[in-house]
Amino acid sequence: MKAERSLSSWRASAVDWIHNAVEQMPDTPSTSWHVAQPTLDARRAALEVLREESVPDDLVPIAMNVTHDRGVLIEWQNGDKELDLEILADGELEASKWRGTDLVEELPLQKSYWRLRPLFEWLASSK
């Protein structure tokens, strides 16, 4: 059995936010500016990403937001490079790589978390 590893402080905070803070969100938003609670599938997948070992501890996200489509968007930045992981309402993942506002690559991940590692290697590299 795989031992539960201890989470770094940002991960623990982000996991706690997914567990607790999103509970305060309504199921049905009162206006188009309000967000609805992410779906259970999206929350489960977000927790898996946040606990995923290929997500490096030393690259702290610059943002994690609930989306207007009941998913979760996590954004990382390194210089002018950005990596976005969007967890959709059905729990599937889409990754997009950016340089500034130019889209470099967009790819669905289909819960293939092992494919996260090269994304973070790209983000961390100086190229």
Binding site: W10, S13, M25, S32, W33, H34, H68, D84, T101, L103
Partner: protein, 133 residues
């Protein structure tokens, strides 16, 4: 989309006469929407706006010729707002028109296809252009 759209698909056409380029609009940012990344990452500037704020098929905003920012702050205490001009949004590829169901609002859609959610690049660009107020 969870909220009923203000303008049905097929009727979303840019209105440059009714909504002039210089018009300032505001998009409210739900304070529950975001994890506080700034506690752990100094790069997460307090002035940064997440693209998730704008990533929706129908982007509703309040128009500065119909309501003031001060009144918005009274209505939504504790909220922050993303500010941009309609011309800035049009320059990125949005179309804009008055919301026929809410006189205070201007709604924006992707000009590439106003009947579909925008490609991710559009909200990303708007998030970098808009100012947090």
């Amino acid at each position: 989309m969870a909220v009923t759209p203000a303008v049905p698909r097929g009727q979303r056409q840019d209105d440059p006469i009714g909504v002039v380029d210089g018009l300032i609009v505001w998009r409210g940012i739900d304070p529950l929407q975001a994890w506080n990344a700034g506690n752990f990452n100094p790069q997460a500037l307090s002035t940064r706006i997440a693209s998730a704020v704008f990533n929706t098929e129908e982007l509703s905003t309040k128009a500065s010729d119909r309501i003031s920012l001060a009144d918005l702050r009274l209505k939504l205490p504790g909220w922050k707002f993303a500010e941009f001009t309609v011309g800035e949004a049009r320059g990125l590829g949005y179309v804009a028109l008055r919301d026929p169901t809410e006189p205070l609002d201007v709604v924006l859609y992707s000009g590439a296809d106003p009947n579909l959610p925008p490609a991710n690049a559009l909200p990303k660009k708007l998030s970098k252009l808009a100012r947090l107020v």
